[in-house]
């Protein structure tokens, strides 16, 4: 029965993926992409990866879909730009891609005799971190450096997006919601949903230590709530020169880095935690990161500054 369900999910994923590539209209393709992301998060649950399922639903489908939808709407008139390559080129590309798929499928069919796994190691040392969710253990203890550098990548991407604004708009605010006509339903939801979303995000961040969830998922929910508020015009997007916004952006990574250096003094080295305070420190980092991730993701989706500051 479970296999029948999986076959259904897999066929739907492939069919929807193909439809997304073939769809004539970009806006339609983006909407299909959102549906695809939600189906993909069901696939992640089927693979016993609930943490990834939450991330995929929130980021992969939710906020990426929002970003691409607004871009597709703005690029509506450029729809005809460029032409599909000629039929022989398409056939050649199709054969090449089919070959690559077949190669990957071969790799799937020929697994190693003993499947490589780090699960026993991850579980054996989990008690020292005080956490109960092994994925959080990997993210914030075993591979903390990856997670720290990922935050830096997010900030670099935001710098890249900001630098694409025109010189006149530097220090101004993203145009999100500035030109949207008043929409009662959107305003209603932008006023009703954020309190619920904020509680939900706080819960997701807090529970991440023991159950699926964590700073990424909580931060994304925060980002989506803030985007909703900005899009509805309930609160304007802040200017990028705002000191408060910049402090919020760096708070998470800065605290993470500070705790990392503190590791030299109170533990074994960089990004190491003392056993007694490990969980407290990790939860503290997660809370700061959730805030920073929320602000960073929302501003990434809001795009470069376009409105100059009112004098």
């Amino acid at each position: 029965m479970a296999l029948v369900f999986d076959i259904g999910i897999v066929s739907l994923l492939i069919a929807i993926g193909a439809w997304m590539i073939m769809a004539r209209d970009t806006l339609v393709a983006v909407i299909i992409f959102v549906v695809y992301g939600l189906l993909m998060s069901i696939a992640w649950v089927r693979l016993s990866a609930v943490d990834v399922a939450l991330t995929e639903a929130a980021i992969g489908s939710g906020i990426t879909g929002m970003l691409l939808l607004s871009a597709a709407a703005r690029l509506r008139q450029t729809e005809g730009a460029g032409a599909r390559p000629s039929f022989p080129v398409c056939v050649a590309a199709g054969s090449l891609c089919a070959l690559i798929s077949a190669g990957l499928a071969g790799v799937v069919l020929l697994p190693a005799d003993v499947a490589p796994t780090l699960a026993p190691l991850a579980v054996a040392n989990l008690a020292d971190t005080g956490l109960e969710n092994p994925v959080a253990g990997v993210l914030f203890a075993y591979r903390a450096l990856d997670t720290l550098l990922e935050k830096v990548v997010l900030l670099l991407a935001l710098l890249g997006v900001w630098s694409l604004g025109s010189d006149r708009a530097w220090g101004g605010a993203p145009a999100l919601g500035a030109y949207v006509p008043p929409n009662d339903i959107l305003v209603f939801f932008a006023q009703v949903l954020p309190p619920i979303g904020i509680v939900f995000a706080a819960y997701m961040t807090w529970t991440g230590a023991s159950h699926p969830g964590g700073a990424f998922q909580g931060g994304t929910v925060l980002a989506v709530m803030w985007l909703l508020v900005m899009m509805a015009g309930v609160a304007r997007a802040p200017p990028i020169s705002s000191t408060k916004v910049r402090w919020l952006l760096v708070a998470g990574p800065a605290l993470f880095l500070a705790v990392g250096f503190l590791g030299f003094v109170i533990a074994a080295g960089f990004l190491a935690y003392p056993v007694d305070y490990a969980k407290a420190l990790i939860v503290l980092i997660e809370i700061a990161l959730a805030l920073s991730i929320g602000v960073t993701l929302a501003l990434l989706a809001a795009g470069p500054p376009e409105r100059t500051l009112q004098p």
């Binding site: 089927r46 691409l68 790799v107 890249g160 990434l300 795009g303």
Partner: protein, 113 residues
């Protein structure tokens, strides 16, 4: 056939589809979409590896899962940067050639080049 193998085939097919879209799509935004599809196929492949590494009472190996979570967030930031670049590109093209729509000859030349 177990479900991990099934999702393995699915990831192989999605990687192929995404790559195909990346090659043949004419519009930059469609290429970004195809690139995301390709990425999600690669992530799913990691998920299959994680599922096969189930041990010590866990349903799946937590290390590939953590890598995928990091990957999804980085993929989003790359997508946001790419979308901002595409929007800026089209804005600049509009500024540089404001008459291209009014002049069909210029438009046709632009289409062929």
């Amino acid at each position: 056939m177990n479900s991990a193998t099934l999702f393995g085939f699915c990831s192989a097919a999605i990687v192929g589809l995404g790559l195909f879209g990346l090659i043949v799509s004419p519009h930059p935004l469609r290429r970004i979409l195809a690139f995301n599809l390709l990425g999600s196929g690669v992530f799913l492949f990691f998920g299959v590896v994680a599922r096969r590494g189930a041990a010590a009472g866990l349903g799946a190996d937590p290390v590939p899962q953590a890598l995928v979570i990091t990957g999804i967030v980085v993929a989003f930031s790359a997508t946001a940067l790419a979308v901002a670049l595409v929007l800026r590109l089209f804005a600049l093209t509009d500024e540089a050639a404001p008459t291209s729509e009014a002049d069909p000859k210029a438009g046709a030349e632009g289409g062929h080049s």
